[in-house]
């Protein structure tokens, strides 16, 4: 299970990314969007809110950045991953993820971006509903942590409005995307460590 945790986190990011503004539409070259993350748990009287931005450049460059409440950046670029957290006004690098986990997720991202939802080794994918894609974990270990993920498609083709990650009866995390911009040129410096 411990080995699974990095995978889960990156899976969530991958799902959010994929599901984020981009869905399984070929021809997507880049994505930029803002997101709001709402975390609700049974114990909470009020949800926890986080805000940030994401930038994706095909084939495999990602900048997933939280602005509040804690500034942190996760970068995937040129096959390497890094995570930085702001402390005392400067970014500090956190421990690196295992290469194998990252490669698996990058494969997931590539697969989904190419529209191959059904090829996903981690999730059973249900696309039978018009505007909702439902992902259910295959592995029991993952099921114990995430019961299901729902992607809500937006009005615009190739765009998803929100991703909700259910942890069971006691909590969920909803990512809502806005200000989505597709296929603009993104400078390579965006994917470099600050």
């Amino acid at each position: 299970m411990c080995r699974l945790l990095p995978l889960i986190v990156f899976a969530l990011l991958a799902v959010a990314l994929l599901g984020g503004p981009v869905v399984a539409e070929s021809g997507i070259r880049s994505v930029q969007a803002d997101f709001t993350q709402e975390k609700q748990m049974k114990i909470l009287s009020r949800p926890l809110l986080s805000r940030g931005t994401l930038v994706f450049q095909a084939p495999q460059s990602l900048r997933w950045e939280y602005h509040t409440p804690l500034r942190s950046i996760m970068l995937l670029h040129n096959g390497r991953m890094a995570k930085m957290v702001e402390r005392n006004g400067r970014f500090e690098k956190e421990s690196r993820a295992g290469v194998s986990s990252m490669q698996i997720i990058l494969e997931e991202i590539s697969s989904w971006l190419e529209g191959r939802f059904t090829d996903n080794p981690m999730f059973v994918v249900d696309t039978s509903r018009e505007r909702t894609v439902l992902l259910t974990p295959k592995e029991p270990g993952l099921q114990a942590i995430i019961s299901r993920i729902e992607l809500q498609r937006g009005e615009q083709d190739g765009v998803i409005d929100s991703v909700t990650i259910f942890e069971g009866a006691d909590g969920w995390t909803k990512l809502t995307f806005s200000n989505t911009v597709l296929n603009q040129v993104i400078p390579a410096t965006v994917f470099q460590e600050p």
Binding site: C2, M41, L70
Partner: protein, 226 residues
């Protein structure tokens, strides 16, 4: 990455719960004629009623550092807490009432290790719950006013000018924990710290830093104590 971080965090919290990591001895409590701190000055640092607090928790060890979001709901004697990754994954959730054993509702490995929930609750009570035991009031040798609560352990609450405070706990005569509050502000009748730092200096010394994200004094519910 996350698993290494979690392992380190668990190590930190377990260390904090099972040893006396600071070698400082408990100072003598001296009489302070006419200027003893009033009990209310010490009591105001402990929230009463129904609260929801969230913090960014950062730890630093010789071997690395990590960050998690801590969520705490206080409702009378009831404590509900959770640790959540920055990305939103619930890593641990538990609740307890009074001094009872915590009921764990979610614990991803290695947060399911024996003793973890108890140690975490003990830390939360130290920071946020009024200490049990007999109260004495006086000053330390340097003149700092202190409220001392003596029970199974000894807790010194040191109110400071400017509205902040420190807490030192002692197991036997040895200091086990030192908590410093910074940038405090009043919310109702409670002094809430924007930053809390827990310092321990055992051989594997560590620092736990808590930056306040939000503190809300919520409306009373049926579960609230009068």
């Amino acid at each position: 990455m996350i698993s290494r971080f979690i392992f380190s965090l668990v190590s930190v919290l377990l260390l904090s719960s099972c040893a006396s990591p600071d070698r400082q001895s408990m100072p003598h409590l001296l009489a302070m004629a006419g200027k003893n701190p009033r009990p209310a000055e010490c009591a105001k640092i402990f929230p009463t009623g129904h609260w929801q607090l969230s913090h960014v928790i950062t730890f630093a060890l010789a071997g690395g550092s990590g960050t998690v979001v801590g969520v705490l709901v206080l409702n009378g004697e009831e404590i509900r807490c959770a640790l959540v990754s920055v990305e939103g994954l619930t890593l641990f959730a538990a609740q307890a009432t009074g001094s009872s054993a915590p009921e764990v509702t979610r614990a991803l490995p290695p947060f399911d290790k024996p003793g973890f929930a108890e140690g975490l609750m003990r830390d939360i009570r130290t920071i946020f719950s009024f200490p049990p035991g007999n109260a004495e009031y006086g000053q330390l040798a340097d003149g700092a006013p202190v409220c001392r609560y003596s029970g199974l352990t000894v807790t010194d609450v040191l109110p400071e000018e400017g509205g902040c405070w420190s807490i030192a706990t002692y197991s036997g005569q040895t200091r086990s924990r030192l908590i410093r509050a910074r940038s405090c502000r009043m919310i109702g009748s409670t002094a809430v710290a924007e930053e809390l730092e827990l310092v321990a200096a055992q051989p594997a010394g560590y620092t736990l830093n808590m930056q306040l994200i939000s503190a809300e004094h919520l409306p009373a519910t049926k579960g609230d104590l009068p």
